[in-house]
Point group: C2
Chain length 659, copies 2
């Protein structure tokens, strides 16, 4: 890994490092450095539209539900001594307020929205009043009638809540400077170091999150105690220090030390947050072995335990990763928060290693999990992201909180509502995931429509105009508006699936470019134009046969988009036609025209068997439904997976059986 030192704060100082950029992750050294999220401005396009929706609809929606649910009021009740009597929500509900504050902080930086800043300060003031004089803050523990502080490390989520508080404080510090929330976060972090800093202490939290937060606060403040504490928490895990739980120690990654594991396992969000914290610790302590261990875990997880959508976590039970290749489409948990966490970890690994696989994984997850998890209305969310929805079910009541994973469509809120706040903070900070820089120049990892204006590490300025309708269109135009005098490089990511991409440099002939990073150097001046063409025509995709659950089935991908077939698009001419009666004819390629993407299918009527297993001698041939007289041939439209379930109750499948 290239050691590119980032300006480092004086580690003795408790003040803020004013050079910290407005980014979620600011490693002191890295292969590539993150770009301030304010250096990227979306102009419409896939992400510009979603970021506006996030600002206009999602953030206010979440603020409203924080009041309705009583989770914000918990802090008021803490101040007025009315806890636990008036407490609402689960043990981790404080963290939702903190994630909301983090999202608001990024959004204020991005937009300069003064009213949002006012709301941020109001909410911060309510939170701050609940903090004890020693820095402890949690509305669920420590008062008469509540469980004592630090009495439940397995399920109590105290350290997890601190983690999100500190991440919110870091976001505010990097976008605004010291204010009340930053003070609260620092006081909490100091309390944690005092409480848990002993070398002989073996306590750690059941839900990782504090680790990455403490490293970021170290990066902001230069206080090495925070880094040391994060290092301690990472090292304590995997020793069996947490208590026995029904799910077993792998659930919270307490089965194997982080540096000894070869693949992610257990609760997916916990595993991914822990990975992020471990990368952060590894980077700051120059612990190459730890970094390599986490990268190996992610690479193996991508190879064996990830859905085609980028979704992670195959089990509803324990919200956990399955075994290798155990990826049932119809029981995909693929929690939205695991998508957020996967982007976070892959982003850290991309920064540290420059390995394009992490850029590919981020793209896949953004388009197929993050974009899917938020409904077209901006006020409904998936908690889980299944790849096969068997029963239509009812639309959830618009004004009710759904049980966490039971909803058959996007719900406005959940009883465990971690996903909306996680999605809002990700969308608000999305600019930071698009590009990076290093001593040589700039790297674009994700494509967008808008401008990128940033200072290279030598102080010179680059400004680019990016124009594209990607991923609906293949062409990405990059116009250089401003560029340094000296030679610099621009790296552009070509996704692994793009086997026929081309690049045109300012009127030159197109040249074929391979998946990976294509480098343009030495010749980019103001007025230069690049046209990167990443073909996004629909293509058939099949799975490793060890993924038994989708054997004999095919998916359609289109650029980075996974496509889906939804029952509302089936012809009404066939009685009982359902997504389970469709076979796709792969001898005819999928067609994309002005109206969308279609595949040729054979659709037949439903017919039930008294016993669904038929022996050969009872008349079964190769396929129990082949050659039935009622089969009809139809072209059926597909929709991008992220668009499904926006047209009322439906059944859906990503993987479709082949005829």
């Amino acid at each position: 890994m290239a050691q590119t030192p980032h300006p480092r704060p004086d580690s003795a100082s408790q003040g803020l490092d004013s050079t910290q950029p407005p980014v979620p992750v600011a490693p002191s050294r890295s292969h590539w450095q993150p770009l301030p999220l304010t250096d990227i401005e979306f102009h419409g396009g896939f992400w510009g539209h979603r970021q506006s929706l996030n600002h206009d609809v999602t953030l206010p929606h979440i603020e409203e539900w924080m009041e309705r649910s009583g989770w914000a009021k918990n802090f008021d009740h803490a101040a007025t001594g009315e806890l636990p009597a008036k407490r609402q929500g689960r043990e981790f509900s404080d963290s939702e307020i903190y994630k909301l504050l983090e999202g608001m902080a990024w959004e204020i930086a991005r937009t300069g929205d003064q009213d949002l800043d006012r709301r941020f300060k109001e909410l911060t003031a309510r939170v701050a009043k609940a903090q004890d004089t020693d820095g402890y803050i949690n509305t669920n523990f420590g008062r008469p009638g509540q469980a004592p502080r630090y009495s439940d490390f397995e399920w109590g989520h105290e350290l997890y809540c601190y983690g999100h508080l500190i991440q919110a404080g870091v976001a505010r510090a990097r976008t605004h400077g010291v204010d009340r929330l930053v003070e609260v976060a620092i006081a909490a972090a100091d309390h944690i170091c005092a409480e848990f800093g002993s070398e002989t202490d073996t306590r750690l939290g059941g839900h990782p999150e504090i680790e990455t937060a403490l490293v970021e606060l170290y990066r902001v403040t230069g206080n090495a105690a925070y880094l040391r504490q994060a290092q301690l928490f990472v090292a304590r895990r995997g020793q069996g220090h947490l208590g026995e739980i029904d799910f077993g120690p792998a659930y919270f990654q307490d089965d194997i030390p982080v540096r000894e594991a070869s693949v992610l396992r257990g609760h997916a969000v916990r595993a991914l947050y822990l990975g992020s914290g471990a990368v952060d610790v590894a980077v700051e302590t120059e612990d190459g072995n730890l970094l390599a261990a986490v990268q190996t875990q992610m690479i193996n997880t991508l190879a064996r335990r990830t859905y085609i959508t980028g979704g992670m976590g195959a089990h509803h039970e324990g919200e956990s990763f399955g075994q290798d290749y155990e990826l049932p489409a119809d029981r995909a948990y693929a929690e939205s928060c695991a998508g957020v966490a996967s982007v976070q970890l892959n982003h850290r690994l991309l920064l540290s290693t420059g390995d394009v696989r992490h850029g590919d994984a981020i793209e896949r997850t953004l388009y197929n999990i993050i974009a899917t998890a938020v409904g077209a209305d901006g006020r409904s969310f998936f908690y889980t992201n299944t790849l096969h929805h068997r029963e239509e079910g009812d639309a959830p009541a618009a004004e009710e909180a759904s049980p966490r994973a039971a909803s058959s469509s996007r719900a406005p809120w959940y009883q465990v509502s971690c996903c909306p706040t996680n999605l809002t903070r990700t969308l608000a900070s999305l600019g930071a995931y698009m590009a990076t820089k290093n001593d040589q120049g700039l790297q674009i990892h994700q494509y967008f429509s808008g401008t990128l204006t940033t200072e290279l590490t030598d102080g010179s300025t680059v400004s680019l105009q990016v124009s594209t309708n990607y991923p609906m269109d293949s062409r990405i135009e990059i116009q250089v508006l401003e560029a340094p005098e000296q030679e610099w490089t621009l790296d552009l990511r070509v996704p692994a699936w793009a086997t026929s991409a081309t690049l045109v440099h300012t009127g030159d002939e197109p040249v074929a470019v391979e998946p990976g990073y294509v480098r343009v150097n030495g010749s980019l001046r103001p007025g230069s134009r690049l046209l990167l063409d990443i073909p996004v025509h629909p293509r058939w995709t099949r799975a490793d046969p060890r993924i038994d659950a989708v054997r004999g089935q095919v998916a359609v991908e289109q650029g980075p988009l996974v496509m889906a077939m939804e029952s509302v698009d089936l012809p009404s001419s066939i009685p009982g036609a359902d997504i389970s009666n469709v076979r796709v004819d792969t001898s005819e390629p999928p067609v994309q025209d002005g109206t969308g993407t279609q595949v040729a299918t054979l659709i037949h009527e439903n017919h039930d068997l008294a016993w669904p297993y038929v022996s050969t001698e009872m008349g079964a041939t190769g396929s129990l439904d082949s050659g039935t007289a009622e089969t009809e041939r139809h072209h059926v439209p597909l929709v991008p997976y992220h668009e499904w379930a926006n047209r009322g109750p439906s059944t859906m499948r990503v993987w479709i059986p082949e005829a």
Copy 2:
């Protein structure tokens, strides 16, 4: 349904009905009547061996663990006032003692084992001392420091524990007459009726079981209050009277009234126990609609929600049924207790309706769940019965209780150890599931090696000698030893998969017989011999294509046995050969010879992909692993599924991909 009245006790009497046969289920009226389990004697064979093992090894093993786990001592501590300080085990551990007592009662009746009778009485005496004067008995509630009686209907399991206590009392009453356990059970039942008998009471237990137990105690005692109470409990369910839980109300079938549901759903054991109680109530109250509703639920469950093994319950989360056709092989929960419960419910439906599908379902479940769940050593048990075991894992420590479903092989005990006691009571009472009688004669539903001597309803005696090595051999010989003077009938079940069965009557020519019941009447005299031939050669079986998880895969069945491929049987010549690298060549039929059953396979080496989804243009063809140079052709032995995991850690699959 034919109304064949069974001699009915005087409903005003609190005494025992001395005409009650030693059977688990004794309906007052039914299509067919159960046979006393003592009327059947196994002579070796598949079940005789297992019943001996159950007596010699499993029962003492369970008795020992009841002491080690402290679950039996809980009753002693109740008597000495040392609860809750010394209480061990989960909230439902009392029920395990009761299930053990039930198993002992049947086994004492079957064998006359006097030492077992002594142990039964000792354990009974310990239990009895824990009963309060008002009949309440539970070691987990009601004492200072414990939750109050009846303070947790969702999870407390008080009514569930009573149910098993009463079933044990019923078993003792029917095999021995009144003794201390019967008195304890009756006192408990009287307490329940006093506590919960009001028409306006809406309370009911989270785990059904009390319903069927109360009906059986009504059948034993004639006390109609018990029947009425069972009827109330069945009617109260599905009204939303139970509190909200994370799994939702379907978990304990509180989503829909029993008579309105169309398929079993939620926690499988709960659903099946409830079905049994509802059938019992329906039969005794002549409620044809309720009976029809439960039968429809079972028929639909067999058609859409049952594994090829007869296993029920596809979800680990909530131990519950999945949606229709959601039957992933590698996440099959198929709890052993659900197998026990399925046999119970199908037996009741068989008695009530005479529908052969229930006889078929019982056979499938006995050979592939009950026989699988107990290891060859008689002292290890599966909690769940997966159809695809992906990772070898470690053998569980012989002397440790495993978490409930995490074990990769059979474990000696579980922290939630409901399965061993359920299996032992089923095996001890297995004789009762083999045959039935009615006014016309006798019906044999399950084949065994041994004798059947019973009194027909007119008082005449039939005695048969059954000789067979079924299901390893196709021939079942039945010799009539004693028969009534008047005409009588013998019905023999021919399983649905037996499309070429034949019957020979005393030297006649073989006649082809169809699946269903073949009736022999008018001509069976002492010395008559029947030879039923049910071919058990191996056959290919494929699944309804809506069971997506096993598409493109084939299973081998052999008679009622589902076969499995286990990694320990793979050739060692191929590097990394594993159960996931095998394809079966169905163009060559499976072969059965003296050494066992084999199939032709193509086996290839493992090869990993960086990303396990490959688009056509990236070079993927129909199958990602076809045509690899390393493929070798081998014949691989299969084992009956019930025999798997008896040779150390292995991977296993029932459904094998087709080449």
